[in-house]
Symmetry: C2
Subunit: 346 residues, 2 copies
DNA sequence: ATAGTTTATGAATACGTATTCATGCTAATG
DNA sequence: CATTAGCATGAATACGTATTCATAAACTAT
């Protein structure tokens, strides 16, 4: 067994500094009831001997691990690493560690064990379907929870999402204002609140403009690149194909672009395409997709802050925070003039 | 402070089962010196009361956390989530947790603290430049280390990479056999061993075929999408542009494709493009890039196995394992006939 | 049958910290 | 000046487990 032996503990520091172990502990925890002179002496010894407190002993006493779990459904979905990037930054900046589980392939055993063993102080869930044994278990055990980029009505934990409905509504308004008449929707599974809300926003915009959404202009499918690709090909093979396809997110839009390429349809000459999320890749000029950008950094920051404050003070009441989105007009749509709304936190 | 109170400890179990706490501990650790009847009785009580041992107390005694750290340089680089996916699967399957640090934006403080505090049992490093304070610190403290998708000569830890040189050599051979005459290389920073080895392999192939690599057919740059895009545009604006561009990896190839599109060059009619890595997106048909696929799952599996065995038994001597790669011919090159070598672990 | 060995168990201890309780001390209040 | 309140500190304890040591019981070999 490759372990190590801790050279120093707080007793050693105490001895060297001529104080008791309790005082060392007080210095380290920032307890104010320590004479300044004593504090300095202890800190000097700590510095000189390069002492670090034993995290496990601390965890055992405080029942806090300094670690936060993040549950993602599919880490290879390009938006996920972007979310993880911001969450990780924020957590590290606050001295927390981030452990990640990818439930799509691993299943939920890892998270469930961590919850039961209480080796994490809190849990962040990202977008996915509603059913989750881990989410239930976390709630039952009273573990602090926060959700980012997903939303469940009446939840008892903090949730941070963008204004999916309003953003999609704006997207629809934009397409309509730009003169698109035959707008189609290609979307993913509706058990994802984000996708459902966006679809609702798009439909609202169409309805408001008095535009019909015929069945043959609507398609949805499971998450698999080829599915959306095929849907796009089918969509274009109709006698009267649409002149715009609004997609539930950027990744779907990528697949749709592939399908359009295969179908020989020119973007934006023959048809416009829009996404949602504003992930990095959407700006690559093979895609160059008009999209609605989520402020992931602000959302992640708020998520972490809320989770930590829940951990530190369970009194705070749970809330749902919506973040404004930003329309980014790119090459998959031809009209670049539309009143942009600044991204705002509501 | 939102903590919890552990309802049960091993003493409770002991009392209920009519044994001592030591025996409960023995049952849990799989110690064989326990009568079968006693073991059953204890297990029943554990089951009935739904008891879980306190992980922090265990960690304090055993000096093992059950957690492994993974250091990535930039998590939004699409190959990284694929690596993390496999590493996470493998670690979870072995009952370990995976904590992730993204040093590109966070810096190395998080890892360094974890190393000094010894809250992880081992560390996995993925591809990046050579200099790393975390890698040094981990070595100094004797923490078990494994590297995946990178390689340093004479290292004192296990390393798992694919045959970058041979793979790239095969790629060059393929291009040459298919009749390409003016082969260019666009590569990233050479302090990454993977990219340096691949370039060496490409050059070796060209040299062996007696083909010159003029300066104006070689370009390298930092990792930034637009850089590679510009390089591709420049490359094509020459009086006598190349008829193939071999890129250091798939992501570079994506950017090059963007540049070629902007430059009005048709792929594969005017020019061929190849990547390396075989990441998921390379198969999307907007890209459809001919590439050399790394067996990331096997590599991740071996990495985790080696790390854990290092943790469990520090005796094993460090080794460098190379994995065979697989040529995947797609739409960015026209010739589909080339003797494929099966992916083998050497 | 007797000495020796293995097996099964419990009592006791150690891991390293945070915290409570008790205490001597200083400063403030009347 | 006497009393009180607050401050700074140490001793002792608890967190929950793994492990060592000791011991009794159950075998094995002579």
């Amino acid at each position: 067994m490759h372990t190590y032996s801790q050279k120093l503990n707080s007793n050693d520091i105490a001895r060297h500094a001529g104080v008791s172990q309790a005082t060392v502990s007080r210095v380290l925890s920032g307890n104010s009831n320590v004479r300044e002179e004593t504090r300095q002496r202890v800190l000097e010894v700590i510095e000189k001997l390069n002492y670090r407190p034993n995290a496990f002993a601390q965890a055992m006493k405080t029942r806090l691990s300094g670690t936060v779990g993040v549950v993602v459904s599919r880490i290879t979905n390009p938006i996920v690493p972007e979310v993880l990037l911001h969450l990780g930054d924020e957590l590290t900046a606050r001295g927390k560690r981030m452990v990640v589980w990818n439930t799509d392939t691993e299943g939920e055993d890892g998270v469930l064990n961590a919850i039961r063993q209480r080796v994490i102080d809190g849990l962040i869930f990202t977008a996915a379907g509603h059913q989750s044994a881990a989410l239930e278990a976390a709630q039952q055990t009273g573990m602090p929870i926060a959700c980012i980029n997903r939303h469940i009505d009446g939840a008892s934990f903090n949730q941070f999402a963008c204004s999916n409905l309003e953003g999609a509504r704006t997207m629809a308004d934009y397409l309509i204002a730009a003169g698109r008449k035959r707008i189609a929707i290609i979307n993913g599974p509706l058990d994802r609140s984000t996708l459902a809300d966006r679809e609702a926003g798009l439909r609202q915009g169409l309805h408001h403009a008095g535009i019909e959404l015929p069945d043959n202009y609507y398609a949805s499918s499971d998450f698999a690149h080829n599915n959306f690709r095929e849907l796009a090909i089918e969509m274009m093979s109709q006698p009267c194909p649409p002149d715009a396809i609004a997609c539930g997110n950027d990744v779907i839009a990528f697949a749709v672009m592939c399908g359009l390429k295969a179908a020989g349809a020119k973007v934006p000459d023959d048809i416009w395409v829009t996404g949602f999320d504003g992930i990095e890749m959407s700006g690559w000029d093979v895609f160059d997709i008009t999209t609605m950008k989520q402020p992931l950094d602000a959302m992640a920051s708020a998520t972490v802050e809320a989770l930590i404050s829940t951990i530190e003070n369970s009194e705070a009441e749970p809330q749902l925070v919506r973040f404004g989105t930003e329309l980014i007009i790119r090459g998959t749509t031809a009209n670049t003039s539309f009143p942009q709304q600044p991204p705002t936190k509501e």
